[in-house]
Symmetry: none
Amino acid sequence: MLKQERHAFIIQQLNVHNRVYSTDLQQRLVVSEDTIRRDLQELAEEGMLIKVHGGAVSKSFHFTLSNNNVYASKAKKDIAQKACHLIANDMVVLLTGGTTIREMINELSPMLKATFITPSIPIALELMNHPRVDVIFIGNQLNKNAQMATGAEVVKMLSTIRADLCFLGTNAIEAGAGITDSSWEVVEVKKAMIQATDKLVSMVIAEKLNTIQPMQVCGVSDIDTLITELPADHELLAPYHSKGIRLL
Amino acid sequence: MLKQERHAFIIQQLNVHNRVYSTDLQQRLVVSEDTIRRDLQELAEEGMLIKVHGGAVSKSFHFTLSNNNVYASKAKKDIAQKACHLIANDMVVLLTGGTTIREMINELSPMLKATFITPSIPIALELMNHPRVDVIFIGNQLNKNAQMATGAEVVKMLSTIRADLCFLGTNAIEAGAGITDSSWEVVEVKKAMIQATDKLVSMVIAEKLNTIQPMQVCGVSDIDTLITELPADHELLAPYHSKGIRLL
DNA sequence: TATATTTATGCAGGTTTATGCAGGTTTTTT
DNA sequence: AAAAAACCTGCATAAACCTGCATAAATATA
């Protein structure tokens, strides 16, 4: 078997499984331990994979591991900066929880004078650093996993509110399934927020584009504006653009 | 299984659940206790997570308030340790704001199963780190200086509650003037909390003993238990003892 | 065609890494 | 205060690693 064939096989395995073991490759390709090691070494030098003790992992795999923090926070900051321009003085704004929303609050102008309504404790805390905004917390029974208020009481309170804008920190979005989430309680609250707002803004990092979770929050058509860290004409956003959503 | 695979699994679990337990990971990944510990240690060094006794928590979740520059934190810790013994399972407990109360929450046993009611955002946040307690937040309009909800709505909600205990973070106390405070809005809320509780516990560091502020919260006779960092027979506490207050 | 050159592979040996285990310490729970 | 759980340190071992060398195959050259 040619070296190039082995290399091709290794890459293919990596694409499928995101990882390969040296010992496994030895057996399947019937070559010595050293040969496999040299193969992996060469492919690593070409930047095709990342060698680790015992085998190799695919580049995208390693990406999601190491970049979780650095890369994602940069993206969130980009999103936050785009988002905060949407808020004008004297608006009433609904906010969900999530780190992206928190980032946005940090980016708000200290001159802004608006009313913010949220069921999220960390968001409320962050808002209190802003001297000129009014902060209204929604709900009483707190959900520890989501760090926010959930339940019938929240939904009831939201039903008496009419806001100008609602910013939704989004866990999963897909052109067909719309915005989806994993917790039933959180979905209930988000639905009520969407009912209570005039315009809906979804903030999502590209990593979560085209992913689906079990429960639907709303359809794509309910979204007015979608904010990601990508340029508005990026191909990943095309399906949303074609449905008439404003992209930032 | 490669080390990197385990690491990826741990990070993924953290992203979903915000917390992992070493014992659980041991079983799911079928490795020894030590290996998991080393994994968590390495990931913590890389800044991917925060290690805690028994496992790890996600970095973004661990939005914890800095306890670093709390004034007189040794004294407050002493007070907190005395205070938390007063709380038994299934109690309903009212809490004001303040660093002493926060310190007490940190000292609570994670096994405690009780209901806590508070109008303070930082206190609510701190309480959510406790796995087994119910947390109820009171109010909607937030006061930025006090970082808590104030106003008629809070008073009204409190009037419908009957709690077993109320812990009052106290700014000033004096044998004649009772507990006093400087903000009218905060005093209104504290008064309502006192109305709503069976027993009132005042927590105060010694340097605030025998000081007076403009507005009265309650008289000395309303207090059931007074907790300071001093021994119960300290001379500074004699005037309170003579009025029949229980001292800790 | 015969010989030199390169390339690919395997092997010997010594080194490093990953993991589990033993023992003792600290933290948590009862 | 005792017991249990989680923690840490150091050590042992096996697996994976590397370096250098030898050999075989492929390729190039005379």
